[in-house]
Structure formats: C-alpha cells, structure tokens
C-alpha cells in the first residue's frame, strides 16, 4: 500500500465516511439482548452513542473498557474483564458484542485471548453471555467494514451445522429500521421461514416503555443466528461486499449455504431481481400486494418521468447505497454525474458498470475514497440539479444553492431519518416521489409568476 493519493492531498477535509467501530456497534444493536462494548477509551463509546442517537433518536447504550494512561501502556486486559463483569451484572445480556478501537489495536491487545482467559476465570459458576468479537481498527476502512465484520463475526460465533431446513437468511446490510420492517413483511408474505440479521428495526425505532428495560426489546435472537448454518440459502445485499468479508460468504464456505449476492434492491430492476430470487427459492409467486406496489410504481414512473428526465445529480455516501441509487436513477432518466464515496473497496466502478453499462458514455464519474471538498470541487464543474446523500452534504448544498435529498446515514438535521424507506417497490416509490417533488419545488420557487397547479 502507498500513501499516494489520486487527489494529490494527504489529509481528509470533511470526511464522507465514519469510523469502523461505529458500524460494528450498529450491527450489534440488531442482535436480541445484546450490549455493544468498545474496547478502548470512553470517548469512542460516547461519541459513537451520541452520533447514532442523533440519527435514530432512540437510547443507545455502548459500554467501554475506559482506557486510562496505565491501560494504554500496560494493556487493556484488566479493564476489559472488569467491564465485561459489570455489563453482565447490570444488563444480564444474552450477548456482549465486543469491538476494538484504534487504541486497543495499536497497542496490540489480543482480545480473543483475553476473552478465553475471562471465560476460564469466571469458570462455570454462572452462564456467561455469549461474546461476539469483531476486530474494527478505525485506521482501516470505514463504518461499513465494521458493520460487516460484526455481522460475519456473529454468524461465525453462533451458526451451527445441522440438517438443511426450509429457511432463508437475509443479510440486508446497513439499511433503515423502516426498510428492515418492510423486508420482514416481504419474507412473511412469501410464507417462508427466515432469519434477518441484523434486525435493529425495533431496538432503534421503538415505542415508549411500559416497563423498564435494561436492553430494549427486539433484535435477531441468538437461536435464530444459530440456525443460519442450516438454511437453504442466504440473500445478501451490498454490491461491493466480498464473500470473504461477509456473513453469507462464511456460511457458504463453512456450511454450503448458497449465497445469493444482490445489490440493495432500489428501483424496479433491482427489486425485480430480489423478488425473482425469492420466487425461485420459495417456489412461490410474488404475493399480490407487491405486484400492486410494482404496478403503482411503474404508473408513477410514467406520470412523473417528464419532471425528472435528464436531470443531473451527485450521489454520495456508502458505496453500496450509491451504486444501487445510481442504477435506480438511470431507470428514471436522471444522470448521476458523480457517484462518490468515502469508502474504498476498489470495486465501486466495476460493480456500477454491471448495473449501468453505459456509464462511460454518459460521462458518469465514479470516485472512491473522496471527501466533501473533492465532491464540492466536482459540484462546481459538473453543475448538477440536486444532490443526494446524508446530512453532511448540507454545507455543500447551501453553498452551491442546490437542493439536498436526504438519504442513508446520518440524517441528523431532519426528523425521521430512521423511518425513511429506500428499498423495494415501496421504498423506491417514496424516493421517487421525493425526487420529483424536489424538482417541482425548485421550479415553483424559481418561477417569477408562481404557480400552484401542475
């Protein structure tokens, strides 16, 4: 590896990615009765909590081994064990999801070894919570790597061999709680037993508490994760997610569970692909309500196309989200003149080409490993009509006087980011309506006469 950067700058200004352990904490929140635990300074847990909370607007506890100077010098073993004891006593969790930070990785703490020592130390006096460990040094990759590392590690820790079952695993990736609920509806309507991991649809978007909870209700049960090894197939979203880093990849390699690797189902084509896989795996036709949703979406495309066709946009955010959005935008005639991400899988352009083969002819730029200063510079040159991405693009949107359609994570300058739909026919419908209305609103505001009818 070399530090030479294509953009000829070595520092990052206004990052378009978050750090590795954040993704792991989010994924751990999707396991039932699990407390995420960061091995490092307390600041990491505090910052990541406040950041996740500002998007999801739900309580999020993340424990920490609270490193001090001695710990940083002599190792974090004592603090980690003490922390595990306290989390166990206070929360009585079924699972503790442990992720590392740059600090514990830099000093080289061997966490799996410490965990083995801890188990021996505690003996068999009381059943210990299951400990799932993910290595997530912040100086590698972005929050997406941490997310997938935690999901893969959950499966690695819990999945068991056994006779094949009529069961589908769905590894849906970093999607909104609303999208998770929708995915669960689809699987339920297909009448097929399934395991969706991680399921933070309730833990990160729940109701008031009629009783005290140490850990909010919801999440994928450990017993369900255990059964993923016996599933008939896995479906895994995420265009750039490679098999050797993914949960479904592990299950395929270890237990022969076929991995169906799909882009996030945004747009008609990608959703069709997802439903086609479900039809094949379940040997059942798409339930009528989704046929309906699809027909309504096609109808909406027909009614709304003239407003958006030929419009230009800049897309930014996680690579997989950007890739799938780009493919959807091509369906409705919008040109994503720049597809940008702070992530750096090295696969973004290749995967995009598979979905948008005329990428180069359309002059669509694909840039990995960029920050908002890079994107802003491109904005001046590419002159898009609107921007699509998370809240961090607001400054750019204000400066360039371009509307920003908020999607993905984090959305912390608007209400309801956790309830945004992006996936399937319904999610696409909502996105499409938002895009069309953004364009119409622009035109309405720009009109000197002002019109109230369309």
């Amino acid at each position: 590896m070399t530090t030479v950067n294509m953009t000829a700058k070595s520092a990052t200004q206004n990052a378009c990615k978050l750090c590795n352990p954040l993704g792991a904490c989010l994924a751990f929140r999707g396991i039932e009765r699990c407390v995420p635990f960061l091995h490092g300074s307390q600041g990491c847990a505090t910052y990541i909590r406040r950041y996740l909370i500002s998007h999801f607007k739900e309580p999020i506890d993340i424990a920490s081994s609270n490193f001090n100077e001695e710990t940083a010098v002599f190792g974090g073993s004592h603090n980690l064990k003490l922390g595990l004891k306290n989390v166990t006593q206070q929360y009585k969790p079924d699972v503790i999801g442990i992720a590392t930070t740059c600090l514990s990785e830099t000093i080289g703490d061997d966490v799996p070894m410490i965990l083995r020592e801890y188990e021996t130390l505690m003996g068999s006096s009381a059943p210990l919570p299951i400990m799932i460990f993910a290595s997530t040094p912040s100086y590698q990759g972005s929050h997406m790597e941490g997310f997938h590392a935690a999901v893969r590690s959950a499966v690695k820790t819990l999945a068991e061999a056994g006779p094949k079952k009529n069961l589908i695993n769905l590894f849906s990736g970093m999607i909104s709680p609303a999208d998770i609920r929708y995915m669960k509806d689809i699987m339920t309507d297909f009448g097929v037993p399934f395991v969706l991991l991680p399921d933070y649809s309730q833990t990160l978007d729940g109701g008031p508490w009629a009783e005290y909870h140490r850990i909010p209700p919801g999440g994928t049960p450990t017993s369900a994760i255990a059964s993923t090894g016996c599933a008939s197939a896995s479906i895994e979203f995420g265009s750039t997610l490679e098999s050797h880093k993914s949960a479904a990849g592990y299950l395929e390699e270890k237990f022969g569970v076929t991995r169906h690797h799909l882009p996030l189902p945004i747009g008609i084509k990608a959703s069709d692909r997802f439903f086609a896989v479900l039809e094949k795996l379940t040997e059942k036709p798409m339930p009528a309500r989704y046929e309906d949703e699809r027909r309504r979406l096609v109808d909406a495309y027909a009614d709304g196309h003239k407003y958006v066709f030929g419009q230009k946009t800049i897309l930014y955010g996680e690579e997989d989200l950007v890739i799938s959005l780009a493919a959807f935008l091509r369906e409705i005639g919008v040109v994503p003149v720049l597809c940008a991400s702070g992530g750096k899988s090295g696969l973004m352009k290749k995967r995009l080409m598979e979905l948008v083969p005329d990428l180069d002819e359309l002059g669509i730029k694909v840039r990995e490993g960029v920050d908002f200063v890079d994107i802003e510079n491109e904005t001046e040159e590419l002159r898009p009509d609107f921007l699509m991405g998370n809240s961090k693009g607001f400054t750019m949107s204000k400066k360039s006087e371009l509307p920003l359609i908020r999607i993905g994570f984090p959305v912390h300058d608007r209400f309801g980011g956790q309830r945004l739909h992006h996936l399937g026919y319904r999610g696409t419908q909502e996105l499409f309506d938002r895009i069309v209305n953004t364009v119409i609103e622009q035109r309405q505001n720009a009109s000197s006469i002002g019109y109230t009818y369309m």
Partner: protein, 546 residues
C-alpha cells in the same frame, strides 16, 4: 398548581440508591451521592475514574480540548491527527455559532480536517502525513493559526506533534502552528482536555499582540462557547452597556482577539470548570483579576452586570447598566407573568456539564420551579463545594498526568489592575473575585447532589421524584422520554437558544413551558404508573470496581 408538592426525604432516597449496590460499590458511590446542606457544605467525591463497563455520559480528553475549548474560534484550522472517527464526531456537533465580520473573513468552523490515519501510518509513524496535512491546510487557506490535536494512537506510536508543529511553524513563517497532546485516554473525562487546551492557548496564543485596545471598560469573557448563539446575546448587552469585549474564550472568537486578550482589565468567567486555569494564569502573568459571573437567567444577568460595574467602580457605567436593566427587564417580566402560573411548583433535575447544572437552576427559579436533584458529568469538587476546598483536593494519578504550567509575572507586561486592598474591598461587597462558591451553596437544603450519575441512579431518581423535566444531553434524552418525562438538552439546546441574558431567558421560559405543559406526555404512561411493574425490573445496581 402543584405548589404544595411533598418531596421524598432525600436521606431515604440516598439510602435507596445505595442499598442495591454491593458493599464496596456502595461505599464508593455513597461519597458521590450527597444530601445538600448549603450552610455546612458536605464533601462530594468528584473527578474520579468511571468504572469500566458502567455506561457513563462522560467524553474524552480530545473532546474537551478540541470540541469544547478550541472548536469555537473561527479562524484557527483545527487538524485532528488520527483515524477519521474523532474528527467526524466533533464536526459541528456542539452547535457553536460564529459571526465573521464580513463574508470574506475566515471561518473554518464548518470544516473537519483529519489526517485520516491509515494502518501504514500507525506502523511507520504519522508525522510525515501530519506535516503534509499542515502544508495543505496552509496552501489552501493561509490561516493565521493551525492547531493539531492528538487522538489515542498518536501518543502510543510516538508521533511528536509538538516537534512537527514547531518545524512547520518555522517553515511557514506567518502561521502559528501548535499541538495538543489530548489523547482520549488521558485523565478521567473531558475535563483533562479543558486543562490541556487552557495550557496550549495560554502558551501559544495569549500575549502575542501587545497593541492597546480602545475602550474604558475592557474585559474578556471566559468559558462561554456560543452554543445556540449565547455569546451573541451577551455581546449585545455588553455593547449596550458600553463594555468592551476584548476576547472571548472562545465563543464567536478570533485568533487576533485571543492574542490580544492580555490587554483587558478584567476576566469574567462563566464556565468555571473548563476555563478557570486560564483565569489563574492570566492573573499571575499579567495581573488581570478574574471574577465569576453568570449570564444564564435574567436576574442573574442583571446581577452580573452590576458586579462588573462595581469592579470598574465607575458611576457612569453603573448608571448606564441600571438603565439597560430597566429597559430589558419589563419584557422579561411580561413573559414570566404569563408563563409562571403554568410552571410554578413544578420540579426539575439537572445532570449536565461542569457548570450548566448549576446556572440553569436560576432560570428554573425564575419560573417558580424547584431543582430537586442536580449533578455534574465531569466537574471537580470546587465546582460543587466552592473554591475554598481547592487546597484540600487530593491529587490522584490521573490529575498528576496533566501538566501544570509554571507561570510567573511577565517582566514587562505584569500590571496588577487592582491592589490587594481594592480586591479585598470588592470581595467584601460580594463579588466573587478569584473565587467561586460552587453549586451547593445555592441549592436548597435537602436537595440531592450526585456526581457522574449512573444509568441506574437516573432511572431510580426519576421513579422516586417523577420530575416534570429532566435536563441532560442527547445520550440521556430518549431513555428519559421513554419514561414519559420530557428531557431538555442543555448541551445542544435541542436546536434552540440562545438562553443567556435577557432575550435568552425569554426563549428558555417559552421552551420549558412548551415541554412541561405538553399534551403528548399524557399519551405516555410511565412504567411506575402501570400496575405490577415493580422497580426490581429496572437496571441492576450491582457492579464491581476491581
């Protein structure tokens, strides 16, 4: 009206909080959970390590240094040396506002600079990348100052941010580059970072410009960070009174103001915890006394203005300040008269910061509300009990690691603004000169004071007191609201503010009225309102310290 509300016996509440803990933990926590007596203030254990695995609301040293103290100055380029997360998480999240004089003036607050350390930097060292980053920031903006903040891995891999800063300062010539060793593992909370920041700002910024400042009544505002526009309101009032603000540490401030700050004749301190070191150091080196004031609360603002007038001892200023107060107060009074019947007798709890939990009580008092329990997240004993306890505070290993600068009077610039006798006379008149009486003196007898409140304790307190409002931050917000109690964020103000001065007080009254009298809370049944929910279902109190 709930004026005749009966409060639970705090001694019993304390017992109940502690009894569930194992003996050792009970012993530790019992020193931090105290029944107040303003006449004989009891000792509160504070600024001690959080036990691993106990979820704390505390942040880290980097957060206190970069996020709190240095963050609000608009024309310093702040480069975070480390992996990307730390810089990202501190990017505009504190809602510090600033107002450049012209659109062309530098404002780097909306930027988030990071060396985005990668694995090879951790293995082979990151100084080269850091120097490149400094060069790039310089080429891009030509800023007056660049500050470097070390995150956890930096200290461990042996990157010398101070040497790199010196080298780049020399190389660039017209840019003041300086570094902070504020790695997240230093100290027990963000409080360590405040101290580190004070040292750095004092060493590298204050005193660089000796140009005289015009104005008759010149002061610096210390420990005000312009969250939600708080500084703007204070600036408005100062201007109206004819008080010259030389520099603010650091809401709505510039490098130039801070470099010139030693030309002022008084330092007034708002947040004692985060900035008292600066007050002390400037007193020793330049002879500028500092005085504790408070601009949270309309009455408190008026009182603080009168104290400033008293300090300067000028009849004209005194008269002008009385005029300003007479002009501002009727507007405030009109709003209080309207709102107070709806808030009178209600209760509040405040667990926030190292100063806010104290001063926001004034606003609640003005609304006729009682603060039944309060505590800080990262304060020290002096913030609770008053500065007279300073000599008796034990220095532990964590505090020892934070550098104490050795400051001596400046051979040329030391100029005591007041004689010892004059200062004594001012103290006699009730001015808190180089003094702070702390939070407990002001709180009612038998109210509860809890330091570094744990999850379990906050749930228990809410269950017992059923407060009408709970003030804390975003990390506590949604868990408290799930229990049917509104939470007011006193870090970021829930997008509201300003809350200082006269106009700020009015904003606060209105916001609190909206929250405590909101019909949505009737839709949420608190766990204790539902039959059969024993408190045993709550968080477990048991934890270990060894």
């Amino acid at each position: 009206m709930e004026a005749n509300r009966i409060y639970p016996d705090p001694a019993l509440v304390r017992e109940e909080l502690i009894q569930k803990y194992p003996t050792k933990v009970a012993k530790k926590r019992s020193k931090s959970i105290i029944v107040n007596d303003p006449d004989t203030i009891p000792e509160v254990q504070a600024n001690v390590r959080t036990v691993p695995g106990i979820i704390t609301q505390r942040g880290c040293s980097y957060a206190g240094c970069k996020g709190v103290v240095l963050g609000p100055t608009r024309d310093i380029v702040n480069i975070v040396h480390g992996p990307i997360g730390c810089s990202f998480y501190a990017w505009l999240t504190r809602r510090n506002q600033t107002r450049p004089e012209t659109p062309e003036d530098a404002n780097y607050i909306p930027y988030c600079f990071s060396t985005d350390m990668q694995e090879e930097n951790v293995v082979f060292g990151g100084e080269k990348k850091l120097k490149q980053a400094i060069q790039e920031a310089y080429d891009l903006f030509h800023p007056k100052s660049i500050a470097i903040f070390s995150t956890c891995p930096v200290g461990l891999i042996g990157d010398d941010v101070h040497a790199a800063s010196r080298e780049m300062k020399e190389k660039l010539g017209d840019c003041n580059v300086f570094g902070f060793s504020c790695e997240g593992y230093r100290g027990v909370s963000q409080s360590a970072g405040h101290h580190i920041a004070n040292n750095g700002v004092f060493k590298h910024m204050v005193g660089r410009n000796n140009a005289a400042v015009e104005g008759k009544f010149k002061l610096n505002l210390l420990g005000e960070y312009n969250i939600g526009g708080d500084a703007f309101e204070i600036e408005r009032i100062f201007e109206k009174c004819g008080i010259t603000l030389v520099a603010s540490f650091s809401g709505n401030s510039t490098v130039g103001q801070i470099e010139n700050a030693h030309m002022a004749d008084l330092n007034v301190i708002l947040c004692h915890r985060s900035i008292n070191y600066m007050g002390d150091m400037m007193e020793t080196k330049y002879g500028i006394p500092w005085m504790k004031v408070n601009f949270v609360g309309a009455e408190s603002s008026a009182k603080s203005l009168r104290k400033i007038a008293e300090y300067f001892g000028d009849a004209g200023l005194k008269a002008r300040i009385e005029e300003v107060i007479a002009e501002e107060m009727p507007k405030v009074k009109a709003i209080i008269d309207e709102i107070r019947p709806r808030t009178e007798g209600k209760t509040a709890m405040l667990f926030v910061g190292g100063s806010r939990a104290h001063h926001y009580q004034d606003l609640f008092t003005e609304l006729g509300m009682t603060t039944v329990a309060a505590g800080y997240e990262f304060a020290h004993r002096d913030d609770y009990e008053g500065r007279q306890v300073l000599p008796s505070i034990k220095i532990d290993a964590d505090s020892k690691n934070i550098e104490e600068l050795k400051v001596t009077p400046d051979p040329e610039l030391y100029n005591p603004r007041k004689t010892e006798a004059e200062l004594e006379a001012l103290k006699e008149k009730g001015l808190e000169i180089i003094g702070y009486e702390g939070m407990m003196k002001q709180m009612k007898s038998k109210s509860l004071v809890v330091d570094d409140l744990s999850h379990y304790e906050s749930e228990k307190l809410i269950e017992i007191y059923k407060p009408d409002i709970f003030c804390a931050g975003i990390k506590e917000k949604y868990v408290v609201q799930k229990m049917g109690v509104p939470l007011k964020q006193l870090h970021s103000y829930d997008y509201g503010g300003p809350y200082t001065g006269f106009e700020g007080a009015v904003n606060f009254y209105k916001d609190i009225d909206r929250m405590v009298n909101n019909p949505v809370w009737k839709l949420i049944k608190a766990p204790w309102e539902i039959a059969g929910n024993g408190s045993s279902a709550g968080l477990e109190a048991s934890y270990v310290t060894q």
